[in-house]
């Protein structure tokens, strides 16, 4: 399982890039959900988001998940690419499949990659 060390992680499996403000879901999360077929971003550009509040909804063939903001701030950009091609979340969760970009994001209660790896491993089955 890939967990880039430059990112911060939420217990609910979102990643946050403090450098760019981008937000997405982790490799672990996409593997648990399996084949993702639908993404809906629930916030618009310019809207304020609060850490812990839902920002997107993801549906796979077998499951559905709510995605929460790992940081608070103003939504600078919404990634239309991932809405059009939800399978990007399976193929490139930390790259092309970012969901929103938060301006001046203040991170919530997040973990570093080592802590997240440990946490997610304990939940794997």
């Amino acid at each position: 399982m890939n967990t880039p060390s430059n990112l911060k992680y939420a217990k609910s499996d979102e990643w946050f890039d403090p450098a760019s403000g981008k937000v997405g879901i982790t490799d672990f999360a996409q593997s648990q959900l399996s084949d993702i077929v639908f993404v809906e971003i629930l916030v618009d550009e310019g809207e304020d988001v609060t850490a812990g509040k839902p920002i997107a909804s993801v549906e796979s063939v077998k499951a559905s998940a709510e995605i929460y903001a790992p940081a608070s701030g103003k939504v600078a950009k919404v990634n239309k690419g991932v809405v059009e091609k939800p399978e990007l979340i399976n193929s490139d969760p930390f790259g092309e499949a970012w969901m929103i970009q938060i301006d001046g994001g203040v991170a919530g209660d997040l973990m570093d990659s080592a802590a997240y790896e440990k946490d997610s491993a304990s939940r794997a089955h």
Binding site: V37, F38, E40, E59, K62, E66
Partner: protein, 447 residues
């Protein structure tokens, strides 16, 4: 013990395997003071007795095939059902199967539903259809849920035509009680206004506009202008359509509708005192993820055979739970099959003949009735197989008089529109002969 196959000896052996002494010992977890209540119900009937009893009950009704001549429609229509339809429905392989969760052994139901979806999309001129809803009214309410979900609850206004079926409006009111939305447009009492007057209610807060086609009073309007106006404000438009009329009329898809729903009972389903019927729901592909209800999609099995599965199931309640658009679980599977067989066995030509007969006979009836003194058509708008007839006295009295002569006259519009208390909504289908229509005219002439 009517349908229980287990013998007393087998019962004993099974109890022993379970490790209890008697059947009653299986229920120790049930609070003792409420255990094994004495039910005050009539004693069991044998099959022969039950058949006779039910037959008596059924015969005490006056039905529209043997006892009464009917011109009653208003959302439920008396049509001919080809014999093939019920023969197919009576196949236990169809009616004793469950929702096709295991596609390897449910391809019959799955392909039949896929074909139903295809037939309805072709009929309405839309991209996709779901596997069906409880009835036309709840399908319309689900259109509201789609719009509500599409705008994530941010748009709160429903614009509804006053000429939408009154019971459908009631159901929408009930369904939306927890949504915090407002409904406007349907309180208009001047029913002679053109439907375009509805556009004044459409604003940036409007999630959906709902119109009926033909409308409840039977009138046919082209809704393109309203649809364009709604789209300009970002609202969706739902057209509630009669499927028999769609066999002849321009499709709502052609007018640009976002959602087309309706009651498919006219397609092979008996009037059955109001149910079960068949709500259909078709929409544009872009709304498919917000559409409630089961959906069948084409795929392939591991052996390379074309096959069908329930798809996009993660939208539904059993996975999405409280975040689902709707709680709907069942569809009207068997009746969707009825509609499919009906459409298939009549086919393009047979269906056109049905539509044309309805149209011709209704227009003959309208022409003859409006010649009568004191009677005239409420509207000069085009109509299909149902029209509003203005009578010289209250519709309730006219109906009573007709009933005394063995005729179900039509729907008393005064029930829902006090200003139309002298108006009857008259439906004529291929089931009504010229003789019956002439009899109706004759009886009213004497009234």
């Amino acid at each position: 013990m009517t349908f229980i196959p287990t013998s007393p000896a087998e019962t004993e052996a099974m109890l022993e395997t379970v490790g209890v002494k008697s059947l009653d010992d299986l229920f120790d977890a049930v609070p003792k003071k409420h255990r094994f209540p004495k039910l005050n119900l009539p004693p069991a009937l044998t099959e022969m007795e039950a058949a006779a009893h039910l037959s008596d009950m059924a015969s005490s009704n006056e039905n529209v095939r043997q006892d009464l001549v009917s011109f009653l429609g208003a959302g439920a229509y008396n049509h001919y059902v080809p014999s093939v339809v019920d023969h197919m429905l009576r196949r236990g392989e169809f009616y004793t199967a469950y929702t096709p969760y295991q596609p390897e052994i449910s391809q019959g139901t799955l392909q039949a539903v896929f074909e139903f979806q295809s037939l309805m999309a072709n009929l309405t001129g839309m991209d996709v259809s779901n596997a069906s809803h409880y009835d036309g009214a709840t399908a319309t309410a689900e259109a509201v849920s789609l719009a509500y979900a599409q705008y994530r609850g941010k748009r709160k206004r429903i614009v509804m035509s006053p000429a939408l079926h009154p019971q459908y409006r009631d159901v929408i009111d009930t369904y939306t009680q927890g949504m915090g939305v407002e409904t406007v447009g349907d309180e208009e009492t001047n029913l002679t206004l053109s439907p375009e007057s509805l556009t004044s209610y459409i604003d940036e807060n409007t999630m959906i506009v709902i119109v009926q086609y033909p409308d409840f009073l039977g009138r046919i309007f082209d809704y393109k202008k309203i649809i364009d106006e709604a789209h300009a404000k970002g609202a969706l438009v739902c057209v509630v359509a009669n499927p028999t009329a769609l066999l002849m009329l321009k499709t709502p898809g052609d007018m640009g509708a976002d959602i087309v729903v309706g009651e498919a009972q006219p397609f092979g389903i008996p009037i059955w005192y109001g149910g079960p019927y068949l709500g259909f729901f078709t929409t544009k592909k872009s709304y498919v993820h917000k559409m409630a209800g089961r959906l069948v999609g084409e795929t392939m099995d591991v052996r390379g055979q074309r096959s069908y599965v329930l798809t996009l199931t993660a939208r539904e309640q059993h996975i999405k739970r409280e975040r689902a658009t709707s709680n709907i679980c069942t569809n009207q599977g068997l009746l969707a099959l009825a509609a499919s067989v009906y459409m298939s066995v009549l086919g393009k030509e047979g269906l056109s003949e049905v539509a044309n007969l309805c149209y011709q006979k209704a227009h003959y009836a309208a022409k003859e009735l409006s010649k009568l003194k004191g009677f005239k058509l409420f509207s000069s708008e085009p109509f299909f197989h149902e029209f509003t007839l203005q009578c010289p006295k209250p519709a309730s009295e006219v109906n009573q008089y007709l009933l005394d002569h063995g005729i179900l006259g039509g729907y008393d519009l005064g029930n829902d529109y006090p200003e139309l208390k002298n108006h009857l909504l008259v439906a004529v289908t291929e089931m009504n002969s010229k003789e019956e229509i002439d009899a109706l005219v004759e009886v009213l002439k004497e009234m």
